[in-house]
């Protein structure tokens, strides 16, 4: 958790941390928020990182579960990035977390320039 101004969204069982120094957003835990409204602050945090610097790393290696609303939110974020000419998104994921395989590969189809690092 390095970084001078750390922006954190915390809830039951999850944590989202914006690390401006590395322009990285880390998602951890289990995200089961219901609907786009509840995911809006997290989407805002991701978009804020995108506004700051076109290059954003989204680290979901510690995100054990993401429900359909969360996947929809990530899709919206990737579409937003795709619509910006200068944006570059890296998603760091884990092969060992079941939900990440197909869902994240779909993100690369939304944005072919997206760099999916499956660790």
């Amino acid at each position: 958790m390095r970084g001078k101004s750390v922006n954190v969204i915390e809830g039951e069982g999850y944590r989202v941390v914006d690390q401006p120094e590395e322009n990285r957003v880390v998602l951890e835990g289990t995200l089961r928020l219901s609907g786009g409204d509840e995911y809006a602050p997290i989407l805002a945090l991701l978009t804020q990182a995108l506004d700051r610097d076109g290059r954003v790393t989204v680290d979901v290696t510690g995100l054990e579960f993401l429900n359909s609303s969360g996947i929809a939110m990530l899709s919206r974020f990737v579409i937003e990035a795709r619509n910006r000419a200068d944006a570059a998104v890296v998603i760091r994921a884990s092969r060992h977390v079941p939900w990440q395989g197909k869902s994240l590969r779909n993100l690369t189809r939304l944005m072919p320039a997206l760099d999916l690092e499956l660790g």
């Binding site: 219901s34 609907g35 786009g36 409204d37 429900n67 359909s68 609303s69 996947i71 929809a72 939110m73 899709s75 579409i79 197909k102 590969r105 779909n106 189809r109 939304l110």
Partner: protein, 515 residues
């Protein structure tokens, strides 16, 4: 828990009784001690006073007797000196001697008493004076007898002087004795005052101890009273609290029951919805040339699995999909999907890209209205029967779903990935850019198996998943069986794997065997 405060207060009572008892025993002991000291001191001073008074009276009486004797003798000496009759003089002299003996008896008795050294010295001196006086009396008496009274007056004066000296001595002794008695009395008074002081001091201590014991008892009773009232208050509060809690809990239970009933009703409704629009077995068996067997078992909380087999002018359209999440919403999305696919199929729908676009827009729009973010995997398979006997049937596959399992007549198994053939329906506004299609040839004896992840991810008691590999192995073994046989074998194997554990997700399986 409830008995504890009472136990403690029982201990307090015993301790208090002990303290009070010990306190009062102490007070009585002090009082008894004081009384003993006081009585003894009183008795002693009484005895001393008694002895003092007795002795003083005796001394005074003896000294008075001695003085009287001297006085008598002085009178007699004078009488002797002036006696006219020698016999009378003799008689008087004898009487004088008698008084002298009287004096001496008194003196002897006085000497037996408790005298000061000074008193003894004085009495010793008196003996000499008295001796002189006696000698003079005897001489005067002798002279009186012989009639030679010349110089008798002088001798009588001498005797008188001697007697007066003795008298004076006695007087002094009496006064001294009185002074001594007074001093003794003062001492007795002082002793009495001292013992009275002691008694008062002890009495005061006893009083102090009593006051302390009483104060302690009162304090204990008061604090215990306070503690008791506090405990009562706490108990009352706890009771009230408990009542409130019972009320709240009852309400919660009622609500939970209501919620459970509602959820039970919802589960039942969802399961009924899930099953309601499935193709009937008569529909499936009516299909010519293709042996079709379907299976769906919704989980308690339905997973929104979908499958359908619909007739088309040039064949069939088979759909299979899985809505994200569980519950009524997933079931509703599944129903909308069924309805939309059926509508599009009825309205021709040979243009796959247009079909997908319309389907996605309809579902995306509705899901947005539902504000649920549900989306789904969905594969559509357009089946065209073989145009001639011995030819292969052709299946156009599009949409993203689980892999398709193609079990060849000889038992060989092909796994077709569909990831690149589509995109989750309802996730993005426009799905068209992601839609692609693939074609499969289904020759006689070949079987196409469609499933949802409820099959491959069916978990046993130890969370082990059934898995694609086990499914493939089983299918290879079952390649000779008909569609229903294959379906039954898979369902039985999955059930055997899951055991008594409830299903986590819907199980859906569609088996299509080319005749």
């Amino acid at each position: 828990m409830a008995g504890k405060p009472y136990d403690r207060s029982g201990g307090l009572v015993v301790r208090q009784v002990l303290v009070v008892t010990v306190g009062f025993v102490l007070v009585f002991a002090i009082l008894a001690f004081a009384a003993r000291i006081g009585l003894r001191a009183m008795e002693e001073s009484y005895q001393r006073l008694d002895a003092l008074v007795t002795q003083n009276n005796a001394k005074i009486a003896l000294m008075t007797a001695m003085r009287d004797a001297i006085r008598e003798r002085m009178v007699l000496t004078y009488d002797i000196a002036h006696a006219e009759d020698p016999f009378e003089a003799d008689e008087l002299a004898m009487e004088s001697a008698e008084w002298a003996r009287e004096f001496l008896r008194a003196r002897e008795r006085l000497l037996t008493l408790d005298l000061t050294d000074e008193q003894r010295a004085r009495i010793e001196q008196q003996r000499e004076s008295l001796g002189q006086a006696q000698d003079i009396v005897l001489e005067v008496a002798e002279r009186a007898r012989t009639g030679n009274l010349d110089g008798a007056g002088a001798r009588v004066r001498q005797a008188r002087l001697a007697n007066e000296r003795v008298l004076q001595e006695l007087q002094t002794m009496r006064e001294n004795q009185r002074e001594l008695a007074r001093q003794e009395l003062l001492r007795a008074d002082a002793a009495y005052a001292a013992s009275r002081h002691d008694i008062f001091a002890l009495g005061a201590s006893a009083l102090l101890v009593s006051v302390l014991v009483v104060a302690f008892t009162v304090w204990r009773i008061l604090t215990q009273g306070h503690a008791l009232s506090r405990a009562n208050q706490a108990l009352e509060e706890a009771n009230t609290h408990l009542e409130q809690r019972v009320e709240v809990r009852t309400r919660e239970l009622m609500e939970t029951r209501a919620e459970n009933m509602r959820m039970g009703a919802e589960l039942e409704v969802s399961q009924r919805l899930q099953r309601m629009l499935l193709p009937g077995s008569d529909e499936l068996s009516a299909i010519d040339g293709l042996d079709v067997a379907g299976f769906m078992e919704p989980a308690a909380e339905v997973g929104g699995d979908y499958y359908d087999v619909l007739p088309r002018p040039d064949g069939l359209r088979i759909g299979i999909g899985d809505v994200t999440g569980h519950g009524l919403e997933s079931g509703v999305v599944m129903l909308m999907t069924q309805s939309a696919v059926r509508t599009l199929t009825a309205a021709d729908g040979s243009d796959l890209r247009a079909t997908w676009s319309a389907l996605n827009r309809a579902l995306y729009g509705n899901v947005q209205r539902m504000a649920s973010d549900k989306h789904m995997t969905l594969a559509l398979l357009d089946y065209r029967p073989p145009t001639a006997a011995g030819e292969a049937a052709r299946i156009r596959v599009s949409g993203q779903h689980e892999s398709l399992l193609l079990l060849r007549a000889d038992g060989a198994l092909e796994v077709l990935d569909t990831d690149e053939l589509g995109f989750p329906v309802g996730l993005v506004e426009d799905i068209a850019p992601f839609v692609a299609e693939a074609e499969i040839e289904l020759r006689p004896g070949d079987t196409l198996v469609l499933y949802t992840d409820g099959i491959t991810e069916a978990a046993d008691a130890d969370d082990r998943l059934y898995g694609l590999e086990r499914l493939c192995t089983l299918l290879r073994e079952q390649h000779g069986a008909d569609a229903a046989g294959i379906r039954n074998a898979v369902v039985a194997d999955v059930r055997a794997h899951v055991g008594a554990r409830p299903l986590c997700d819907d199980l859906t399986l569609v088996v299509l065997k080319q005749g």
